[in-house]
């Protein structure tokens, strides 16, 4: 079979001309209203003459699990060493509490996803956030603070819930990024109000002066602007032309 554009003879394995992508027709042709059309639309090549096998399953072998296992063991040894030193010097766990908890925190945030070829951010992001909340709670506990349940937990929880929703939407929904951007500005303004309220509620020396009104107004303005741009297609088009990178 010859390619009508390139003039080269094509092997039976070719489905398209590899030079100009013209389909190769191997079916019979008949004349309909003066035009030659294929009777059977056979466009597939034969595997008999294929230059290479169709074994796409061949994967590049990596020794990632072994590297990660070695790293985890080394990490575990480092934590045990730190705990032993602290115990032998001070007779109890003092400074090592901060070290081991932050090391565990770092492991779960940065190293745990590396065990997987393609870690899903919708799972690992909230997991990392939850670990940070636990870490902050633990620090509060060992320092004898009272600020965690009343302030840090609700603020961090709200931020984590909202940002997880954003990550999930960005990961699974391809369209509507401008709406997401607008919503994130408005919610950020709302979180500022929540922070001020909880600050005043938790710490008696602070009073509610409504400073959070300023970020709330400006964030809402930007948020509504993005939503307006998302709705109004001509404005979106003008802005795209003016500010394309």
């Amino acid at each position: 079979m010859y390619c009508i554009h390139c003039g080269v003879e094509l092997a039976d394995s070719e489905k398209l001309c590899p030079l100009c992508s013209t389909p190769v027709w191997r079916g019979e042709f008949k004349q309909v209203k003066g035009q030659w059309v294929p009777v059977v639309a056979v466009a597939s090549g034969s595997d008999e003459e294929a230059l290479y096998p169709n074994n796409h399953s061949e994967k590049i072998q990596t020794n990632r699990p072994w590297v990660m296992l070695a790293l985890t063991v080394a990490y575990g040894i480092a934590i045990l060493t730190i705990l032993t030193i602290d115990l032998s010097v001070n007779g109890m766990l003092t400074w090592s509490n901060y070290v081991w908890s932050s090391m565990v925190c770092f492991y779960i945030i940065a190293l745990l996803p590396l065990w997987f070829q393609k870690p899903n951010p919708v799972i690992f992001y909230p997991a990392a956030g939850a670990v940070v909340i636990l870490f902050v709670g633990y620090i509060c506990l060992i320092t004898g603070g009272t600020w965690f349940l009343g302030f840090a937990f609700p603020v961090m929880g709200a931020i984590l819930l909202f940002s997880t929703a954003m990550v999930a939407l960005l990961h699974y929904v391809r369209r509507g990024k401008l709406y997401l951007c607008g919503a994130s500005f408005i919610v950020t303004g709302g979180i500022c109000v929540l922070i001020e309220f909880l600050l005043a509620n938790t710490f008696s020396e602070l009073t509610f002066t409504f400073w959070s009104l300023y970020p709330l107004i400006s964030c809402s303005f930007f948020g509504l602007f993005f939503i307006f741009v998302a709705i109004c297609k001509p404005v979106k088009e003008i802005l795209r032309k003016k500010f394309m990178i």
Binding site: A11, K15, P18, L19, N54
Partner: protein, 433 residues
């Protein structure tokens, strides 16, 4: 019985750049394959490889790191033969060459060997493949193949001449600056998954030689001229402003063994760049072919080649450079490679020429194939070899648009050469459905 010491050698002068220039998903490799008339017997091939590796300890080797230099060390055992993948020169992690610098593959009636370029060049690779094939045929068909036409006796001890770093051994007194300036580079979008397109043309070697003789040039000069004829309009299309046009050059590797009567099986090849400058005006095909032929004749002389590689040898022999740790050497060499390594030529064309084998092997062989992987910066490469009037032109590309091979093969058809095309695209398309 006392255990024999493993063979090992420092990388030869040309090979120094290959480990240094590597990057993620790319290192310099080439592939020699032979297609037989009957299907391959995997067990016999493995057995033949087990015998052959002993004769080629520095080809069947692995790359190891010293503090100051890389070196090649003989493998303990032959690598396992494996089924070919869906594309030649499959993307592999660089760690592979620390285990084995070669891969031996089979598919239907084809035996292929993929080499890391640091161990040998095309000529050395051909000797290895021919010797492996001779051993395979002897074991499979119980024939006796004489040691001639590059087939080495597998059960003899390797000769020390085969391990020679012929660059250092044949170093001259004069060093030459080989700066030629920038050449045109084809713009194109890279395949996102690094898929390597192979478009292989089978043509009659006699047809190509006849066309070349009509113009009074060699087959390499003729094919280079067809490439240049294809590339000039591509540059005109991609760069509309004439004053920005650059010379269009083809990089031709020259086997130095014939010029210096070397028997080495390691790298002993040097490249020259031949081409035309389209800014000087329009060229017709005969003019391009004549110019390239003269440039080849002027460049590929022993004295010129020696002056070029002496520069590289001298720089590796400077005492201060010798004591620089390997990681620093790699950084410097990588920077030099990125700055000038591939910038002086538009595309590479490597012609192994006519491959000869002993008469006893000929009835079993259909053809040989030679494929060179794409370069780091240039997405195309062309490799040619012929056997018994069958010339195989293997065009590889890791960019999306096939405009260069389309133009090249169409030009061959226009010159009256019958071109038979095979590619690895059909199956790729099918698997995506």
């Amino acid at each position: 019985m006392e255990k024999r010491k493993k063979y090992w050698r420092r990388l030869d002068n040309a090979a120094l750049i290959f480990p240094a220039a590597r990057r993620k998903g790319w290192f310099n490799r080439f592939r020699m394959s032979v297609t037989l008339k009957e299907d391959i017997d995997k067990e016999v091939l493995q057995s033949a490889l087990d015998v052959t590796v002993k004769r080629f300890p520095l080809i069947c080797s692995r790359l190891r790191r010293g503090f100051f230099w890389y070196y090649l060390e003989e493998l303990d055992n032959a690598p396992r033969v494996i089924l070919d993948g869906f594309q030649p020169l499959m993307v592999r992690p660089f760690d592979d060459v620390r285990k084995s610098a070669i891969r031996v593959l089979y598919y239907k009636n084809r035996i292929a060997v993929e080499f890391f370029h640091a161990v040998t060049d095309g000529a050395g690779g051909t000797v290895f493949v021919k010797s492996l094939l001779a051993e395979y045929l002897e074991q499979k068909y119980d024939i006796k193949v004489p040691s001639e036409h590059g087939v080495l006796t597998r059960n003899e001890v390797p000769c020390s001449d085969e391990f020679e770093d012929s660059f250092t051994a044949n170093k001259g007194d004069v060093a030459f600056n080989r700066k030629e300036g920038q050449a045109f580079h084809i713009r194109g979008q890279r395949e996102p998954d690094d898929f390597l397109h192979l478009t292989c043309a089978t043509v009659k070697a006699s047809d190509v030689l006849e066309k070349a003789r009509e113009l009074g040039v060699s087959a390499t000069a003729y094919l280079s001229a067809v490439l240049i004829e294809t590339l000039i309009p591509i540059q005109e299309r991609q760069i509309p402003k004439k004053k920005k046009w650059l010379p269009v050059r083809v990089q031709i590797p020259v086997d130095l063994r014939r010029l210096f009567s070397s028997k080495t099986l390691r790298n002993f090849v040097m490249v020259i760049n031949i081409g035309v400058n389209p800014r000087m005006g329009a060229y017709d095909f005969a003019e391009i072919a004549g110019l390239l032929s003269h440039q080849l004749a002027l460049g590929a002389t022993a004295k010129n080649m020696q002056a070029i590689y002496t520069t590289n040898v001298n720089s590796a022999l400077v005492p201060i450079i010798k004591i620089v740790p390997l990681f620093l050497k790699n950084i410097i060499m990588r920077a030099m490679f990125d700055a000038i390594g591939e910038s002086q030529a538009t595309i590479g064309l490597s012609n192994l020429g006519a491959i000869k084998v002993p008469e006893e092997m000929e009835p079993f062989i259909e053809y040989f194939d030679f494929i060179i992987g794409p370069q780091a910066a240039s997405p195309h490469n062309v490799a040619v070899c012929s056997f018994d009037n069958v010339m195989r032109i293997n065009f590889v590309r890791n960019s999306v648009d096939p405009e260069v091979e389309r133009g090249f093969y169409r030009n061959l058809v226009k010159h009256g050469i019958h071109v038979y095309i095979q590619s690895n695209l059909g199956l790729q398309e099918k698997s995506e459905e």
